[in-house]
């Protein structure tokens, strides 16, 4: 499908001028905190006709940011290793909008992983890859022209780099919300979700951490939401179906684990969730396989 821009036919009445409403946060000469407070949306005031606003779906989701997920896995003991990330050079492999959108999410997760591990030199490559794919899928507005310059200027200050990534995350969500890009959103989240699960799986392999199992379990259940989102994309390209089925396979494998089937709601609330090594291995292998297919 060359079209994550599914529903474009229905959304085309939205005046393209609204695309210009994306807000830029990297204004020079302002401190980071005050930037947040002072920003007001800049709206192109040309006349728009027949504007359509889509009512939100009855069920929506709000995932954690890639930065939070990466920080969690770092705290849980995942040792940084650039070779486990999706190589930056792969960005040129992605020819369809679906692949570009998925791997935009993957690179966002990898970029966050580099940053929280203070691997700023590697992060620069991932920022460039993310920006490249954002441009390819029509989201160039989420990057200010000086984003890379600011990144280089703050290369020794991880906190400032995190601020830059947070701004990009905000701009991405703002872009999606302003333009009703639900389909793009779900594909982007699918990419970030799978990469996050993949990194979580590696953490489990390396560290026998109950906390990671709890987090991973929570994230796996979130896969249902993403699968539902992928299902309602109008253009059911075979690749979307493949990704969706892969996610459902992971969710089903998790739900069919003996350790999970016998859990009560109270057990989950009280952190009594435990999985056997064999169960974790089975699920991890599914995650790694889907992720590796996705980045090819």
């Amino acid at each position: 499908m060359d079209g994550v821009a599914i529903k474009m036919n229905t959304m085309k009445n939205i005046n393209v001028l609204l695309l210009g409403v994306v807000i830029f946060f990297f204004a020079c000469g302002k401190d980071e905190a005050s930037q947040h407070q002072d920003e007001t949306p800049v709206v192109d005031e040309q006349i728009t006709e027949n504007v359509i606003i889509e009512e939100s779906s009855d069920f929506a989701f709000a995932p954690p940011s890639p930065l939070e997920i990466a920080a969690f896995f770092k705290q849980a003991g995942l040792v940084y290793d650039q070779t486990i990330l999706n190589p930056v050079s792969n960005k040129d492999l992605y020819q369809t909008k679906l692949k570009k959108s998925l791997n935009f999410g993957v690179y966002a997760a990898d970029l966050a992983t580099c940053v929280v591990n203070d691997q700023i030199s590697d992060a620069k490559g991932y920022l460039e890859a993310t920006e490249y794919l954002a441009n390819e899928i029509g989201m160039s507005n989420i990057f200010e022209e000086t984003a890379m310059t600011k990144f280089k200027e703050n290369i020794s200050n991880t906190d400032s780099i995190i601020m830059i990534l947070t701004e990009i995350q905000m701009n991405t969500i703002e872009y999606i919300e302003l333009n009703g890009k639900d389909d793009l959103e779900v594909v982007y989240f699918a990419g970030a979700w799978i990469e996050g699960m993949y990194l979580g799986s590696l953490t489990i392999m390396e560290q026998d951490s109950g906390n990671v199992v709890q987090q991973l379990a929570s994230q796996i259940e979130f896969g249902n939401r993403i699968a539902t989102g992928l299902e309602v994309i109008e253009d059911q390209d075979p690749e979307i179906i493949y990704i969706r089925n892969g996610i459902l396979e992971i969710v089903n494998a998790y739900q069919n684990c003996e350790s999970i089937k016998n859990l009560t709601d109270e057990d989950v609330d009280l952190g009594r969730l435990q999985m056997t090594k064999a169960e974790l291995k089975e699920i991890s292998e599914l995650i790694v396989a889907l992720r590796n297919d996705m980045i090819e």
Binding site: H36, E39, P41, E45, T48, E55, A62, I69, Q215, G271
Partner: protein
């Protein structure tokens, strides 16, 4: 995802298709206003660091409706949740937060705010955890077990009340059509940055 609704140009008294604000129509103007609410909502996260934002657009119907947002949290992180309801102008809505989705019969109500219309409000994940603990405390759980309670996801439910439908004549077709009355509520979440140091 979601119902596609063409905006009726007027929501209240103003029956003109174009507003006075730079010639924008009502829908454009509403979107612009909501973008401003989002900024306010994000600013209210301070001193927490932005995690995610979600705007929920809804249309009032002649029957009660509900929209749900599933919010995934990182375990053991502290969150602040902010809401801006300036886009809720027709009838107040109700905001309820549960530990499970609406499809569960035995979910636990961990936050509730009725008559939400205009303005903003906020709460933290610690408050939600406290309410979860209180729930289980009443069930006789020990302090040791209460300390183990996890909140990996919360479900924000917006209950939109029924309204009386109004109709108007479509100037193009001459047919009677429902006047769409809409609203929007903005939600943002932020995490405690120091938790990651």
């Amino acid at each position: 995802m979601g119902l596609l609704v063409s905006f009726a140009p007027d929501q209240k008294e103003d029956k003109k298709k174009k507003s006075s604000k730079g010639g924008m129509d009502a829908a454009s103007e509403f979107k612009s206003q909501v973008a401003g609410y989002r900024q306010a909502c994000k600013a209210a996260l301070k001193p927490f660091r932005y995690s995610f934002g979600r705007t929920t657009y809804f249309n009032y119907k002649p029957y009660n409706t509900m929209k749900e947002v599933e919010v995934a949290l990182i375990l053991n992180s502290d969150y602040k949740f902010t809401f801006n309801a300036d886009g809720v102008t027709v009838e107040p809505i109700q905001v309820s937060v549960y530990n499970k989705p609406a499809s569960y019969n035995n979910r636990i109500l961990i936050f509730e705010k009725k008559s939400v219309s205009g303005g903003s409000f906020e709460f933290t994940s610690e408050k939600l955890l406290e309410n979860m603990r209180n729930h289980y405390k009443e069930k006789g759980l020990s302090d040791y077990e209460l300390e183990k309670i996890l909140l990996s996801k919360v479900y924000v439910d917006y209950t939109i009340p029924a309204i009386d439908e109004e109709f108007e004549e479509d100037p193009d077709t001459g047919r009677r059509k429902v006047v769409v009355k809409r609203g929007a509520i903005v939600f943002a979440s932020g995490y405690e940055n120091l938790g990651y140091k």
